[in-house]
Subunit: 460 residues, 2 copies
């Protein structure tokens, strides 16, 4: 069903200007500034940037580009890590960052509807006076369109789920400019195909998400953090498994290896023991939190924990979590002048300790610097490669470690990316992981974007 049509980007840009006026930018600084995410992957500047403020803008822009056979690449906050928002040249960039309005805040229903460019921090600021929050998503601030498009998660997915669980409905613009709404504000539905889940994680290749409805949660009455160093990675991971199986509710369970703890100590002026360490958070009523802190301490000490710092003081808690969220710059600071690039995989938790230990051995053998931090309750972990990307040998060494990491994770029954997405960086990994399933994805792509104009070269 691929229809050959002539591509005329010049004509498309002229028509976009006629219809959308000053929202269309062709100056090089704007085009360059919206051409790429935070990854190390290749990009080229787009022919034009359309600064959209409404779903109608996006619809209009896509209709024009469709008629002229011009590819479109959406971008929001640009915080992606696998090149999913990178322009490749010859395309029009659909800039969703001006779509920054909160359209609905449902205090009674614990839900909200936001435009795609709204940042997580902005929704949390609006929800906090009502005692509500949106806890899901990455440590870095990011836009709702981007978080939905990459099926993002972060430190508290173990308690609140990923964007898969937290998106109730979407407004999506299809390749030809048609606007579709999916899902709704009901908490659950068995009405037909789950289009919401299909578009979440599709990285703009099936349609461009312009509005996102999400769940909100009550801000917990009590929050406490524990820092627990262990003699081995295995002891740390098995403590987490045991706590989950015992039904001890943990709202965040972060694991740092000794190298990452060292980086955090230097960068954030901490004096944590440089050992595999869990940073655990508990939430709830005061009696519940006290009960869960005690139960977790018993489990951890039974597995040889080297200490148990219980941080109830909000300042100390913030200090610890800020240090965790600063893990990437902390890693970069280990080697001034270098760049970091971050990769992630996710494995069944029973394989997590093995997967990390084999990866640490590979890192040592290859001679690269790559501290590890992970969302251990999900089996998800990150390597932060600290490399001089100008040095080919370093880049290649990191790439080789990354490829072996992906193979190892998939062989252990896991996935090539837990939360970063496929973008341009992990397309081969997707085929390794999903085999025949990729043909089903291709059939869906061909059905919804027969001219291959939506974010081409991403995911598939």
């Amino acid at each position: 069903m691929i229809v050959d049509i002539s591509t005329d980007v010049g004509a498309a840009v002229r028509e976009l200007r006629e219809v959308l006026g000053t929202k269309v930018h062709t100056d090089v600084p704007t085009r360059a500034s919206r051409a790429h995410d935070r990854s190390h992957h290749d990009w080229s500047i787009p022919e034009a940037v359309v600064s959209c403020t409404t779903t109608e803008d996006v619809s209009c822009a896509l209709a024009v580009c469709f008629r002229h056979g011009v590819a479109v690449v959406p971008i929001g906050a640009g915080t992606g890590l696998e090149g999913g928002a990178n322009s490749s040249g010859g395309n029009v960039c659909i800039d969703l960052s001006p779509m920054n309005r909160i359209l609905h805040l449902g205090v009674a229903d614990l839900d909200a509807t936001v435009q795609a460019g709204v940042m997580k921090s902005a929704l949390n600021a609006a929800a906090a006076p009502h005692g509500l929050c949106f806890p899901a998503g990455p440590g870095v601030d990011a836009s709702f369109g981007g978080m939905a498009s990459t099926r993002a998660s972060g430190t508290n997915a173990v308690a609140y789920g990923t964007m898969r669980a937290n998106v109730l409905g979407l407004t999506v613009v299809l390749a030809d400019g048609t606007v579709v709404t999916t899902g709704g504000l009901a908490r659950k539905s068995s009405a037909g195909y789950d289009l919401t889940a299909l578009f979440v994680g599709s990285e703009g290749t099936l349609g461009i998400i312009t509005e996102v409805s999400v769940r909100l949660y009550g801000i917990p009455a009590t929050t406490a953090t524990a820092v627990v160093p262990f003699p081995t990675l295995g002891a740390a991971v098995s403590s987490v498994s045991a706590a989950i199986a015992a039904g001890v509710p943990l709202s965040r369970i972060e694991l740092m290896d000794d190298v990452m703890v060292g980086a955090m100590n230097s960068y954030s002026d901490l004096s944590l023991k440089e050992a595999p360490t869990l940073l655990v958070e508990f939430e709830g009523g005061p009696a519940s939190v006290a009960e869960h802190v005690d139960r977790f301490e018993a489990i951890a000490s039974g597995r040889g924990a080297l200490g148990y710092e219980f941080a109830a003081d909000p300042r100390r808690r913030d200090e610890l979590w800020q240090a965790r969220h600063d893990a990437l710059p902390a890693a970069a600071a280990l080697r001034p002048g270098s760049s970091t690039w971050s990769t992630d995989v996710c494995v069944p938790i029973s394989r997590l300790a093995d997967c990390i230990e084999e990866t640490q051995a590979d890192i040592a053998a290859e001679g690269v610097l790559a501290p590890i931090a992970g969302h251990v309750g999900d089996g998800n972990f990150h390597l932060a490669f600290v490399v001089d990307t100008e040095v080919t040998a370093e880049r290649e060494a990191a790439q080789a470690v990354n490829e072996r990491l992906v193979r190892r994770a998939v062989a252990m029954g896991g996935t090539c990316t837990g939360e970063h997405g496929i973008g341009t960086g992990k397309r081969a990994a997707l085929r390794l992981e999903h085999g025949e399933g990729v043909r089903v994805m291709e059939a869906i792509k061909a059905a919804l974007d027969p001219r291959q104009l939506l974010n081409p070269g991403k995911v598939l």
Copy 2:
């Protein structure tokens, strides 16, 4: 892309016999017994039933039917309520109920992989000795293939989510017999399109689910139940909203109207107050449960609760929950000789009291008998029409109430079905609810089943 081919069901059945031997049944009693679910919707007997025990059987059967242009209709336990597993004649029935093997029980990872015909009770029996359970799914025992196919949920979706949240991966046989695996055993993934979520809830119209990987949970240390009657539906519902917003974790929150409480009293020999009543369950450690029971009692009494029976005794708890699960026969017993048919909708919780009260008024005006019970934490509720289906006027009155119920729920921002699915019964409702979105569903259907052989006439 619809390909015209001749349909030769006789030749297909002969070839199925050659390849699958005694697994192919053509006797009328078997064909009739596997021709329909528990709904009141129309059905006709299939030309043959293939009793499948492996994914390969299903693949082989679908490949034969594909070549001969013969439609296939999958069925498992047959507990559906919207005709999703009903044969329409001229088709081959794919019986998945013999696929009853538990393939993997992941005690360390809290996961399991089962064949599609495994019943929820069977997995729970196998998991219990390890301290684990599968809490999701309906009150009635059902098969995993059916629960996944209809995106089922039940009383504790508010705490554990629906099948959408609990299915980690699938094995699916496509229209031409190709076998695809989706998802995996990682707890989360951003790797490509979420095919798992697409097949969950697609009711066998995009592929036939043969294996299901699901999350398991630790059996809670402590469980307690409270029975709380209220002066009005609104007071009951607002107590639930307030508790959720305050972060009081409730593992089940059931609402019965006064008519349903009366039916349960008679059928299950209880003496509950005949008022709008919540049946609430709390889980966790002993201190947490005690804290949550107290917090909920304070919220309920602040809204005028007429009583607060706290049932910690397991026998009393079982008695209450069994009565709730027997709501449908209890409703039927209100009028001996009648049939019940059950419908469900789901609305944002802020609209739930209005939606139920308007529906009660409509029931009264139409003069039908239809007690109401619901999973109030999700905004999901059921009407159990108690009708003599031989009497056209009664059937039509129930249908009219049902149609108005669907319109009311959709107008309130809700969905035409929270957990029963579309089947044959709610196809018009799907179009009312999703509009342009149905065209996207049709495009996906055409891409994956161009000959329209998979469970035709269902969903779309």
